[in-house]
Assembly symmetry: C2
Homo-oligomer: 247 residues x 2
DNA sequence: CGATCCTTTGAGCGAACTCAACTCGGGTGG
DNA sequence: CCACCCGAGTTGAGTTCGCTCAAAGGATCG
């Protein structure tokens, strides 16, 4: 029962608006011309400095955006689950200031800027939803600043797990409190600004405290309240339809 | 020689696009109905949880966005100089997930969402520039993640100074290598995720190394190359017209 | 001219880092 | 089929960057 690439996108767009797409709008999205590509783990899709002429829709797997500093440190900036268009910003910002890569074997669908611009023109409400999507992106970045700026290791990792879980659940890719999290501890470190060793010790603690099970790319949240509390997690910033205060 | 509030906005918009605004576009911006307000230092403009019906244009002074965690820690998310519209995102995201406040005596101009939406409708290119502005915002957030996630205190503070300097210079508010930076060390700490004490010691070091002079709300960069290097500063992410690789 | 806020400095502490070694599982090739 | 390798996870030991607590100087202001 394979899901079509653009179904994922429709589902994602509907997860971030209060009113569902009209039939016409959904059709316009589903009619986008796409070119599907399979990726192995750790493949770059676009790199810092590139000027892409297409955007990348995640169909399956997990992508991340990252920057590498002069001294070689890597900072992961965001993770992207099916339905996301991580480089939608390239529609209006020509030069990439960061890179986009797969963390895991993934499927993506490439959509040309021209097609997306035509869609925005023809369906202004879709344009607004796209804009809104990039704004939610920004909200997530803000929360990541808070995460690395103020939380200590334990809460930082807990928060990352809460966020990915919520994002996956919003597009129907969580199975109860279980979901795929195909990240190495080193990648978690790059995302949270912690060393691999310290990530390891901290996860050990999270396990010992009965909050999560995390192994072989799969995560189960054993105590959601406890994890939320440890993370000081408030999902408002994700601006999901069903979550919190959004009308 | 007072500058009109909306002149600031026109100037800002032109600083982030390759092609200047047409006469008609500029006029449409200048015709926006605004309500000007003076603020003292440390006044909230909108708070987390609010649903604003207007946006805030910085005319003079300095604003910041911030979040306060359950445990009372404050994380500053961005600083905003004249010409910025820090809460432009509220056009498409109804609930504020953070607060906006003045760091210093400031002047703002409030513009209703309705007026901005009408403008976007009537002048699609302005809408695109607004979108672009929020995307640059997001790019700055990304760089802040890198800042607090990977740089140590010395580079972190250096980077903050480089960024504010570039932003002010882009709108003509730097005087050579000098500019107003009306921030307390505690605010710098909240922005960089450092304690006030450590900010103090680090600034002392930056001074001792001959990189900056920083006192009484005024900053002079004495060695721009040195500061850039200490900060590992690459201005690409600001996506300014005149800077770096943007065409 | 006390009150208050900001800055500065000292001293001790602790969270997270680095370096290093060992384990475990999955591949690959001799 | 086993030997080897490599990447990921785990654990130990010592170090360090930045924190907290504490207190003392300015500066500004009613």
């Amino acid at each position: 029962m394979a899901v079509s690439p653009l179904d994922r996108l429709v589902r994602k767009l509907e997860s971030i608006t209060s009113t569902p797409l009209s039939e016409q709008e959904a059709k316009a999205v589903l009619d986008l011309p796409v070119s599907v590509r399979k990726l192995e783990a750790d493949q770059d899709i676009v790199r810092e400095g590139d000027r892409p002429s297409q955007c990348c829709l995640v169909v399956e797997g997990l992508l991340c955006r990252y920057k590498v500093l002069a001294d070689g440190t890597r900072q992961i900036l965001s993770f992207h689950v099916p339905g996301d268009i991580p480089d939608l910003q390239s529609l209006h910002i020509d030069v990439m200031d960061h890179s986009l890569a797969s963390n895991f074997a993934s499927t993506i669908a490439l959509i040309s800027h021209d097609a997306l611009k035509d869609l925005c023109h023809a369906q202004p409400r879709i344009a607004d939803v796209f804009w809104r999507d990039t704004l939610i992106d920004a909200a997530i970045f803000r929360e990541w600043i808070v995460n690395v700026g103020t939380r200590e290791a334990y809460g930082r990792i807990a928060h990352l797990i809460c966020e990915v879980f919520m994002k996956l659940r919003a597009v129907g890719l969580a199975n109860g409190n279980s979901f795929n999290l195909p990240l190495t501890q080193s990648e978690i470190g790059d995302a949270t600004g912690l060393s691999t060793v310290h990530v390891n010790r901290t996860i050990k603690q999270l396990r010992a405290d009965g909050l999560i099970t995390l192994e072989k790319g799969h995560c189960t949240i054993n105590n959601l309240n406890g994890l939320n509390e440890a993370a000081m997690f408030d999902p408002t910033y994700l601006h999901l339809k069903g979550t919190g205060k959004a009308a």
